[in-house]
Symmetry: C2
Subunit: 300 residues, 2 copies
């Protein structure tokens, strides 16, 4: 009989909750941490193990997935006051899935290695729906020995696992380049729809044409419906792209590499954030354009 494997998930947000549920369905014992008690209670009711802190969770799991917002939170949940790192068994694996700077991913691998813990640099993509169905994409790099230990877990949480190299940081780089494109495309979608509104083009017709033409992008197709329905409930917020395009620009600046479009898009998200839209859906970047009337929510 095979032993049930114990897996920890830190962060039950849009992606983390989907991952935790997918791993439950795949037959793992899933331990979870989140700062929001109600989310944690709900997950426990579904069959998960709720843990008060990462440090309390750590001794019970063989593999730990950090699906928090950024590098600072990753730092806290691993090395903070109630962090997991000091309490993990030697030979455990940390799957680091937040979007972070490549240098942070590399340093994190070294710090964990010093404690006898293996790491996979493993940012994720694909949105909440694909995380929930266990079909998200992972952009990973790390030593072959790590993959050997967690193959069953990766296939339980992701539809596609890209292996990009033996060294930490490559997964982080590829994720950051994905975010460069995602951020520029959201801002470009807003710019295009804004020009259409300014010119009196029917926005629904414009969406229909563009999604069937060479101007289409994954983000245009996904985000413009939020603009058309006037619904800026955040699925991913403006401030996420203030952060992620900031990481893109920081990464390039280290080697003095110019990124004109990323810089312009970053400015647009910062304009939107400081104008008061930082917590709205990232499609709210269209609100920086003057002189247009945006579609409003349909009356129920």
């Amino acid at each position: 009989m095979s032993k049930v494997r114990n897996v920890g998930v830190i962060g039950l947000g849009a992606m983390g909750l989907g991952v935790a549920r997918s791993l439950l369905r795949a037959g793992f014992a899933v331990h979870a941490c989140d700062v929001r008690q109600e989310v944690l209670d709900k997950f426990a009711a579904e069959g998960g193990v709720a843990c008060a802190t990462p440090a309390i969770m750590a001794p019970s799991v063989d593999v730990l997935i950090t699906l928090v917002v950024n590098a600072a939170q990753t730092e806290t949940v691993l090395f903070g006051e109630h962090g997991a790192a000091a309490a993990l068994k030697p030979g455990s694996v940390v799957i680091s899935s937040a979007t972070v700077a490549p240098d942070f991913a590399i340093a994190l691998g070294q710090r964990l290695a010093a404690a006898g813990i293996l790491m996979l640099d493993a940012p994720v993509s694909g949105g909440a729906a694909r995380a929930a169905s266990g079909e998200m994409t992972m952009m990973t790099s790390g030593p072959a020995a790590v993959y050997a230990k967690i193959e069953d877990i990766l296939s339980g949480m992701a539809g596609k696992v890209y292996r990009l190299g033996d060294e930490h940081g490559i997964g982080a780089k590829v994720k950051i380049i994905n975010q460069l494109l995602a951020g520029v495309h959201i801002a470009a979608s807003a710019e295009a729809m804004a020009l259409g509104l300014r010119e009196g083009v029917n926005p629904d017709a414009l969406y229909e044409v563009i999604t069937h033409s060479a101007g289409n992008s994954w983000m245009f197709e996904n985000r413009v419906p939020h603009i058309l329905s006037g619904d800026y409930t955040p699925l991913s917020a403006v401030d996420i792209f203030v952060k992620d395009l900031g990481l893109v620009l920081d990464t390039a600046r280290r080697s003095k590499f110019p990124l004109p479009l990323s810089a312009a898009a970053h400015q647009m998200f910062m304009m939107a954030s400081t104008a008061g839209h930082g917590g709205e859906d990232d499609s709210a970047v269209i609100k920086i354009f003057p002189g247009i009337d945006l579609p409003t929510p349909k009356q129920v």
Copy 2:
């Protein structure tokens, strides 16, 4: 018995030749003009009627499609010394398919109407392959009476005909907004691949990941293979986007509307053009980035 309809195509370029051949297959008598005699001879050998000038062609056709590069060429083939307009029968239809400024499309409709000729504002999209298979997309606007006269011709040349309104100029606006996105996406694709090369990421792996992630766009998927193979043979040239993003910015400037990403992308294409790459494939915009080694063509 139905009479074979006579259709004229002016401009046998990447799109025009495909349209002319699609109309031949659909059973029309297709008359064609092009400044390149060898292209014209080849089309005649396939069953088309080669015409020396638009003026000579005009009396023989009921419907005329202008698929030239820009507004200036549209002007020349219709109103120039050997232009078609003066020789077209009253009640003929001109399908104006070059990418032009909305104001030009509106004025063109008025000038043709004064000569008793109907017009459809009808830019096209989809690339040479879809033009060749009769499946391109058309972004059209104009009076209902025009559509009634040319339904069979539109369905012979296009897979999808968007009817965007009764007034000329709306087709042109939607095409221009498509070009805004297409141009920004090509420049963003170049910027993303350039950062990847700068950071030592394998470019083939990066392409594979992005095309399966939220950073994907129609243009990324279509153009980045040119960069990966080091083949800048122009399918659509850098200078086309110098022109088209110029039209985008001119259109917006008329109403003092800001377009930060379009402006940045336009600068990138102008840098590429003036550095000597204007006639290369538009993916050659990546050549503006310093400090990277681009993939070179594989030795045969």
